[in-house]
């Protein structure tokens, strides 16, 4: 009798406990830190969050106002406090540097299950596996070697197609200057100045770029190609608006769209800026920057998210969910359509109306460059080198652009010296 009651009680308790176990199944939760508080980046990351919520997760994003440095300060403060977010924005070589200071999540099982590794450019893969296994995922890809041309300006000088080599570019620029058009519409911010050099060098010789800016090989840094790149950079500087100072290139866009400025060397994201300013994309010709070697080449900038190890089950579940989503085609399409970037996966079909010609062209170049091993990493956007080295290099480049008393020879020397100091 007693035993039966006891077992009855046990059975009842077990039954009562069952819904509790089901109830205890955690809702996946993600805490995320980034600098993307507004604009299309903000919209894209918010969209990602909504997708996470639609899949049953809880999304807690804390954007940090300011720029990347402020975001990293916050991240560091949280790591020191022992409370890193479940995932955070981090890019390029920083992934390798930061993963040494706090434990990260091993994403290999998820990546293998999705067969993801073959679908991304090889250069990107290495950045996300600094310790040999996946700890971060790329979110979107931009091409920095994009040339935007103002059609009204082209009409004024009678140009019908984009220049394919730097020689053609220089001819066109001279013609534009003679016609009273400012040939180069770039801005004067640090990374803009850095970009102009990398675009010049990538267009001269991709392998020199790889050696000098990615591998920091001393011979490559002092090579003839580098000297030529600095000379080309000096030309760019002379063709820019002398009043531009340290302003963002977007202040030139109204003039660019009207045809008072001719050409802009910028990343693919400029497309979104032009649209937001009310510009019509039909007035702009978007193509690859000049390539002296005549072969496609793609200098990439990518945003990524890194996953920090957490013990809480809801956060771990959230990380798994977020990682899975980030690797999916539809999520990447949604993200890139919002920001104007290119999806990370090379198997995404961009022929639909939601994509612009610029994005299609860039994706095609990415594919071709991927096959011919001519994908390079951007220096100006901190993908090729960790911050301490790229900062030092960009210091030299921005000085060079704004100080026309520095000769190309001196520029080359200073860059090499800066690399030495930053490394030592």
């Amino acid at each position: 009798m007693r035993i039966r009651r006891r077992s009855l009680l046990a059975g009842a308790a077990a039954t009562a406990a069952l819904p509790l176990a089901v109830r205890a199944q955690v809702k996946p939760r993600v805490t995320f830190i980034s600098q993307w508080s507004s604009g299309s980046d903000g919209a894209a990351i918010t969209g990602l969050g909504k997708r996470l919520e639609a899949e049953g997760g809880i999304w807690q994003h804390s954007p940090v106002p300011g720029f990347t440095t402020e975001m990293m300060n916050k991240l560091r403060a949280d790591i020191i406090a022992g409370n890193p977010p479940a995932a955070s924005q981090l890019k390029g070589p920083e992934i390798a540097a930061w993963c040494k200071i706090a434990p990260t999540v091993n994403l290999d099982p998820l990546v293998e299950a999705a067969g993801y590794e073959k679908l991304i450019p090889t250069e990107l893969v290495g950045l996300h596996k600094p310790q040999g296994h996946w700890i971060a995922l790329p979110m979107q890809v931009y091409r920095t070697t994009t040339l935007f041309m103002s059609r009204p300006a082209m009409a004024k000088v009678g140009a019908t197609k984009a220049p394919k080599t730097w020689a053609e570019f220089n001819e066109l620029a001279t013609a534009m200057k003679a016609a009273g058009i400012t040939p180069v519409a770039n801005g004067g911010i640090r990374w803009d100045d850095g970009m102009k050099l990398e675009i010049a060098l990538a267009g001269i010789n991709a392998e020199s770029y790889r050696g000098a800016l990615m591998k920091l090989d001393a011979k490559a840094l002092k090579s003839a190609d580098m000297l030529e790149a600095f000379a080309q950079l000096r030309k760019f500087a002379s063709w820019m608006d002398p009043n531009i100072a340290a302003q963002h290139y977007s202040v030139n866009l109204p003039k660019f769209l009207k045809g008072e400025m001719g050409m802009l060397m910028m990343g693919g994201w400029a497309q979104g800026v032009i649209k937001n300013l009310g510009g019509k994309l039909e007035d702009v010709l978007i193509t690859s920057a000049p390539q002296n070697e005549g072969k496609p080449c793609f200098v990439l900038n990518a945003d990524s998210m890194i996953f920090w190890k957490r013990k809480e089950p809801d956060l771990t579940a959230g990380q798994q969910l977020l990682a899975k989503l980030m690797m999916q085609k539809d999520v990447q399409e949604q993200y890139s359509q919002t920001t104007g970037s290119i999806p990370v996966r090379i198997d995404v079909d961009l022929s639909g109306p939601a994509w612009s010609d610029g994005q299609r062209e860039a994706a095609q170049v990415l594919n071709e460059s991927f096959k011919s091993k001519r994908v390079l990493l951007s220096l100006a956007h901190n993908i090729a080198q960790p911050n301490q080295i790229s900062s030092a290099m960009i210091d030299v480049l921005t000085e060079y652009v704004h100080n026309d008393k520095v000769t190309p020879e001196q520029g080359v020397q200073r860059l090499a010296a800066a690399v030495d100091t930053a490394r030592g």
């Binding site: 507004s38 604009g39 903000g42 916050k74 020191i80 406090a81 022992g82 800026v273």
Partner: protein, 285 residues
């Protein structure tokens, strides 16, 4: 003595008002811009008369503007700032007054050295304190709270307030204190009866200085809080840092800056006279 420089009195007024105009220029510009739309500003320049009264800028800035994913304008951040500034100001002023009193009138062994070290704190640059504070906050388990900011600003403000108060209290005649002691008053009674009633000028100077300094502080406010607890300075930076793909909303930015500056402007507007009086009474020697 009639110090009036009679000839050229008009020159005096001209110089004074000329400089006043220079001082007012940024304020005028930003008030005007807060009533202009971004399109207007983009078309002409940042200095100009509003075509109409774009009240929308103000309502957007106050309650609707999207900062990160919260589209509540800067109002919640202003509340956070208040919750941080008021306790920190009160605490740092009170502690500074007591410390200043102790050091100047209630001498004890080692007071000069301690005072020198405390005052050194005024001169330490912020950047080098970021990481040490992160470590301290970790030990105290205070990260990402407004309490963390209150603690930081109180400890750092203490250096300033002690400096001000001590320099002021040192002007109180020793005889008063001695008389009180002869009467049998101890540490607290002396403070309450003699020193405190003499304190209003310096308290006001200190409160004004602290309120303004803490309200306008940015670096620690951004690093040690997240999302909902951030102070208004963080919100202003969020509005001002234009991402690469956006048009700058100068109009809303101007309105937001003005709204965020109203508390400190009011403090100086109403407290300016007392500020001067406090300084005259010997606050800073």
């Amino acid at each position: 003595m009639d110090k009036a420089l009679r000839p050229g009195r008009w020159l005096i007024y001209a110089i004074l008002f000329g400089f006043a105009l220079f001082t007012l220029l940024p304020l005028i510009v930003i008030v005007l811009n807060s009533f202009r739309t971004a399109v207007e500003i983009g078309r002409s320049s940042l200095i100009g008369w509003p075509a109409g009264l774009a009240w929308r800028n103000w309502t957007e800035a106050w309650g609707h503007f999207c900062i990160a994913q919260r589209c509540e304008g800067i109002r919640p951040y202003m509340e956070n700032s208040f919750m941080m500034v008021v306790p920190a100001t009160i605490l740092s002023t009170a502690l500074g007054a007591i410390a200043g009193y102790s050091i100047s009138l209630w001498r004890f062994r080692g007071d000069t050295i301690v005072f020198a070290i405390v005052v050194m704190g005024v001169f330490l640059p912020e950047q080098m304190k970021l990481i040490p504070w992160a470590l301290v906050l970790r030990e105290l388990d205070l990260t990402n709270t407004i309490g963390a900011l209150v603690l930081i600003h109180t400890v750092q403000g203490f250096s300033f307030t002690t400096l001000f108060c001590r320099n002021y209290y040192i002007g109180i005649p020793q005889d008063l204190v001695k008389a009180a002691r002869v009467d049998g008053a101890g540490y607290f009674r002396t403070f309450w009866r003699i020193v405190l009633p003499l304190s209003p000028p310096i308290i006001i100077v200190t409160v004004i200085w602290q309120f303004t300094g803490i309200w306008n502080e940015f670096l620690f406010g951004v690093t040690f809080t997240t999302g909902e607890q951030q102070p208004v300075t963080a919100a202003l930076i969020a509005i001002a840092t234009t991402p690469q793909t956006d048009v700058v909303e100068y109009g809303i930015e101007s309105a937001a800056v003005l709204l965020a500056a109203i508390p400190t402007l009011l403090v100086y507007f109403f407290g300016g006279r007392y500020f001067l009086r406090g300084l005259t009474a010997g606050a800073v020697k």
